[in-house]
């Protein structure tokens, strides 16, 4: 376990840097799961490939820099997950596919080859996920990794921000196969709870998904959409929003409109970043580390 110790020390150190933040949440019951092993994955979100505008004059290279930053991590994660809005929306189906193709090519440079993708509304809401599926496969799925059950929930392919009864039934059926103490991680794009409904930061039927998850003791949700770090509990379920990779957005409900925060030439890339999630299951907690896209000199 020498590597584990080194890796944890590494995460601790990066988290204490000038722009990183370490967040740890204890999840009671995790330690009781016997067949688990610690692991580490990286969450990237809201890269909005194809966006152009003053909020990010470096738009054409930001994703590439993020990929380089992930590749430069001293310890590579077990896998990488993108939680939606891989591309910036366009009405043109040809352009949409061009952006997805370019995005895919850029992230193919990741050293880690296990990369999982989820759609955001910018990728999927105008064609119900058709183009996304062509490039990245299913919009909802499950997988297991070292004793943790991951569930990718699609709350964007329906432009009404609905998970939908069919997918909820699929979720219910999947959960029935899990033990109530099983460690479960839900990956999704929009918040499942009403974070800021006046900004459309919600999932219309997200409460139904939360209700289905409530009987399970060890559930954690990682999502995107709001372009900033945010942590909230609904009962015993922790919800962690990730920073984006194109432009940061203001704090929920802090101003009338959800307009991007302006680019600050004095602090380029401020508010952008990605996160490492360290599943220290034997210590009954996840450790989350926030990384900047570009390290300060």
């Amino acid at each position: 376990m020498a590597n584990e110790i080194n890796r944890r020390e590494f995460l601790k150190l990066t988290g204490l840097g000038s722009v990183g933040v370490v967040f740890a949440s204890a999840l009671p019951g995790m330690a009781s799961a016997a067949a688990q092993d610690d692991f580490y994955f990286v969450q990237l979100s809201d890269s909005h490939w194809g966006f152009e505008g003053p909020p990010n004059p470096d738009a054409k290279v930001t994703l590439k820099k993020a990929v380089a930053s992930v590749n430069s991590l001293e310890y590579q994660p077990d896998f990488v997950v993108f939680t939606g809005d891989l591309t910036h929306t366009t009405d043109n189906p040809v352009e949409r596919r061009k952006r997805m193709s370019e995005f895919k090519e850029i992230v193919s440079e990741l050293k880690v080859k296990t990369v999982r993708f989820m759609p955001g509304e910018h990728d999927a809401s105008l064609d119900n996920g058709k183009a996304f599926k062509e490039f990245f496969g299913a919009t909802n799925y499950t997988f297991d990794h070292k004793g943790v059950h991951f569930i990718a929930l699609d709350n964007v392919s329906d432009p009404r921000a609905l998970i939908g009864d069919e997918q909820l039934a699929w979720l219910a059926a999947d959960l029935k196969r899990q033990k109530t103490e099983a460690p479960i991680v839900v990956l999704t794009h929009r918040p499942l709870f009403d974070l800021a409904p006046q900004w459309d930061w919600a999932t219309r039927d997200g409460a139904k998904a939360i209700e289905l998850l409530m009987p399970y003791k060890n559930v954690t949700v990682f999502y995107g959409h709001i372009h900033q770090e945010h942590h909230q509990m609904t009962g015993h379920i922790a919800h962690h929003a990730a920073k984006g990779l194109m432009f940061p957005l203001p704090a929920p409900g802090s101003q009338p409109n959800r307009t991007p925060l302006p680019w600050n030439p004095a602090e380029p890339y401020k508010g952008l970043g990605f996160r490492g999630v360290d599943a220290e299951l034997k210590e009954a907690e996840y450790k989350i580390t926030e990384y900047p896209v570009v390290k300060k000199a």
Binding site: T89, K176, N257
Partner: protein, 125 residues
């Protein structure tokens, strides 16, 4: 019945009640002709008018049409929402029972500037 089944049944019941409420309103509209009707046109990516001033305690009928695609109207502070369907008129009865400025928004993703599609309702005494 499982917990999930119960939840879905409750949700379905809620949806039916909401639909019934709309039907009731349409039937009652002719009986209450004095309520002010405000026509609002939605198109990508704005509402016209986008800013309304209402008087507290005076119900109004918001009458929506869309010039292009399916839109949403969501006024979370009053727990009101509706789909604005092309070629149809969508009516929503609003009882402004509190003062302040409240945001309404399109909650059906409609394109590149969807996030900018919102408006304000100011309720005064």
């Amino acid at each position: 019945m499982t917990l999930s089944g119960k939840g879905l049944r409750i949700a379905a019941t809620t949806a039916i009640l909401a639909a019934a409420s709309v039907v009731t309103y349409v039937a009652a509209q002719s009986a209450e002709p004095k309520e002010k009707v405000i026509k609002i046109t939605a198109k990508r990516f704005d509402y016209t008018p986008g800013n309304l001033t209402l008087k507290k305690g005076e119900p109004v009928i918001l009458e929506f049409t869309t010039l292009d695609v399916l839109m949403g109207f969501n006024l979370p502070d009053f727990n009101l929402r509706a789909d604005i369907v092309p070629d149809k008129v969508t009516r929503v009865r609003l009882v402004p029972d509190k003062t302040g400025t409240f945001t309404f928004l399109c909650d059906i993703f409609c394109g590149a500037r969807h996030e900018e599609m919102n408006g304000r309702i100011t309720v005064v005494d």
